[in-house]
Structures are given as C-alpha cells and as structure tokens.
C-alpha cells in the first residue's frame, strides 16, 4: 500500500522520494501478439541495427523470462524520452504442453517449456507494479474481446499506469484495427506492423506524448 502511494506520488512529483531512475516501459499482451518483434524493432531503431531484445517465433511462449534493455533515448518531433524497455512473457490463463507438441517438440522439451511458461506468466504479472507506462501489444487479426486483454488493461487502469495499445500485424489481410478501437475506445491505439516497421513513427510519437 505504502509502495503504491510512493509510486503514485513519484509520478505526480518526480524525484520526491530520491532521484528518479529511468522510467520503465513494459510490453504486455497475450502470447504471439508480437511483443518481442516490437521490442526488437525499438532496439534496432534506437540502440543500433545489431541490437535485439530476444528471439521472436510463431511458437507461443517463446519469451518465458522478463527481458530488459536499458537507456533507450527516443526522440520524436523535438520530444525526447529515456527509458528502460521491458519485454514480458505473454499472459495466458491456460498452458497445455500438448500444444507445443504440434510444433515438433518432443514430450520432455514440451513439458519443460510449459513449466517455464507458467513461471513466465507469474513473473509478468508481478512486474506490473514496476511499470511507469505500458504498451499493450494486441494481434489485430484476432478478436480483441478476450478476457486476457480485458484483464491486462483493467489492471493497468486500476494501477493508474498510462496505456498505449499497439494493434499489431496490420500487414496481414485479416487485420482489423477498428475492432480494437471499438473494444477499447478510452485508450490511444496505433495500428502497426512491428515486423515491417509500418506506422512505427506514429507509435513513437504517441508514446512520447503519453509519458511526458
């Protein structure tokens, strides 16, 4: 309770409880929404062509531990922010090792991956309290009214953490950014393709406006 109050006051009056460290911007969302692809895009754009956050893959729960890149200086239209970027494991309510068997894994590897994935979900939830701002990455080709999306966004609202929604995978035919806008009308939403870099500048601009 005291920690939350401190965090809130620090957000209102930066530096009240000691020197403010770099803000933490987290990438949250369900598995396979493209969080790591977006993290890699941000790293390449602002830390250098050869810098990546992690491996992106079509297999769910590829990211099973929190990944962080520090000191990212983002400059857009005269506005500048410095932050630590945190890529989190996808949040899910169920994990079945048999799903991984479909991706040509043997039973032992699949079970181990499932076990690590459950820990990853717990870790991602625990880190929510540390975030100063969150980019919720959603797959714009899927139904946005999933409980995981609603729970993540509801939690961020309850914690007074600013939210930006990245409606990812707009390069795909089935993409429907409007359905995400209809589902979450109270939040800024930017349609992007993290894979191709489409509209990524608008995402950066919206982010700088949101966290300043």
């Amino acid at each position: 309770m005291m920690n939350r109050l401190k965090t809130l006051l620090n957000k209102i009056i930066p530096g009240l409880f000691g020197k403010r460290k770099h803000m933490k911007i987290g990438l949250y969302g369900p598995p396979n929404a493209g969080k790591t692809t977006l993290a890699n895009r941000i790293c390449r754009d602002w830390l250098g062509e050869d810098v990546v956050m992690g491996t992106a893959s079509e297999i769910p729960h590829e990211t099973r531990e929190i990944q962080m890149k520090e000191n990212i200086h983002l400059k857009k239209k005269g506005k500048e922010i410095t932050f630590n970027l945190i890529d989190t494991p996808g949040i899910a309510t169920k994990i079945d090792y048999e799903e991984f068997l479909k991706h040509k894994m043997n039973k032992k590897v699949a079970k181990e991956r499932a076990k690590e994935a459950t820990k990853g979900v717990i870790e991602a939830i625990k880190w929510l309290d540390n975030m100063d701002c969150v980019v919720v990455v959603l797959d714009s080709t899927t139904n946005p009214y999933s409980q995981v999306n609603i729970t993540i966004i509801g939690n961020l609202a309850a914690r007074n953490i600013p939210v930006l929604i990245a409606a990812n995978k707009t390069d795909l035919k089935k993409a429907n950014v409007k359905s995400i806008e209809a589902a979450f009308p109270q939040y800024p939403i930017v349609g992007i393709s993290a894979e191709l870099g489409t509209n990524i500048d608008e995402l950066y601009e919206t982010l700088t406006k949101l966290v300043r």
């Binding site: 169920k94 979900v121 409980q147």
Partner: protein, 127 residues
C-alpha cells in the same frame, strides 16, 4: 456430464481476496464451471491467473475466464448512483464464468453475446 455451479455474490463478499480466489479455483479444479454473480476486482483477476499458473500440472491445464458486464451508463447522475450502490453493496453487477481449460476450449465473447465452446474429449472422459 457438465456441472455448472452458481455462486451468489453474498457467498464471497465477506471473504478476503485470497480466500475468494482459493474458493473459486477449488471449484474449478473439481471440473465444474463457476457462474459467479458480479465480478472480481481487476487485481483479483490477475491474482487468479497467478494462482492458476502455480497449480498447472498434468491434469489441470488452467482456466477459461470471462466476465460479462453491463455497458457503463453515460449519464453522470446514473454513474454517481451506480458508484454509490457499488460502494455500499459491492460489485454485484455482471456475471463471471470460470471453467477448467480441459473442459472449456474457448469462450468467445462479442459485446453482447457469449459462446462457450467445450472439448468433447474432456467431457467424454468424465463420469
């Protein structure tokens, strides 16, 4: 056989968040689908996911969760009235559905409709 268990709000309102979640998860782990009056707080929903992940094993693969909630009123007067009711009697509005992932394959939700898709495998295996 598919068992649905209704939990009225007054059955959980006096419980702490942890006990509330333990109760709901306990029912779901008995392969029943919970229909709960009202909804959990957002932080309780994440705690429910955390506790679920801690319990995942060979038999228990997790949960499917869905909350149905009336569209918030746009009129300020009604909003204040609803907030006061919520403060006095708790968040009884809406309905929460929680079921084991071995039985519920997916809960498809559009703003005004819910479709509950079940695994035939999970149902056939039950007495």
């Amino acid at each position: 056989m598919l068992t649905l268990q209704f939990i009225p709000f007054n059955e959980i309102e006096s419980l702490s968040s942890e006990r509330r979640i333990a109760k709901l998860l306990g029912i779901v782990k008995k392969n029943k689908i919970v229909l709960m009056q009202g909804r959990l707080k957002p932080t309780e929903e994440t705690t429910l996911i955390e506790r679920t992940m801690e319990e995942v094993n060979k038999e228990f693969k997790g949960i499917e969760l869905c909350t149905v909630y009336p569209t918030p009123e746009k009129k300020v007067g009604t909003q204040i009235k609803q907030a006061m009711v919520k403060f006095l009697v708790g968040d009884r509005e809406g309905l929460t559905i929680i079921g084991p992932a071995t039985i519920i394959k997916e809960i498809k939700r559009n703003p005004d409709k819910i479709e509950l898709l079940t695994h035939t495998r999970g149902l056939l295996g039950r007495k």
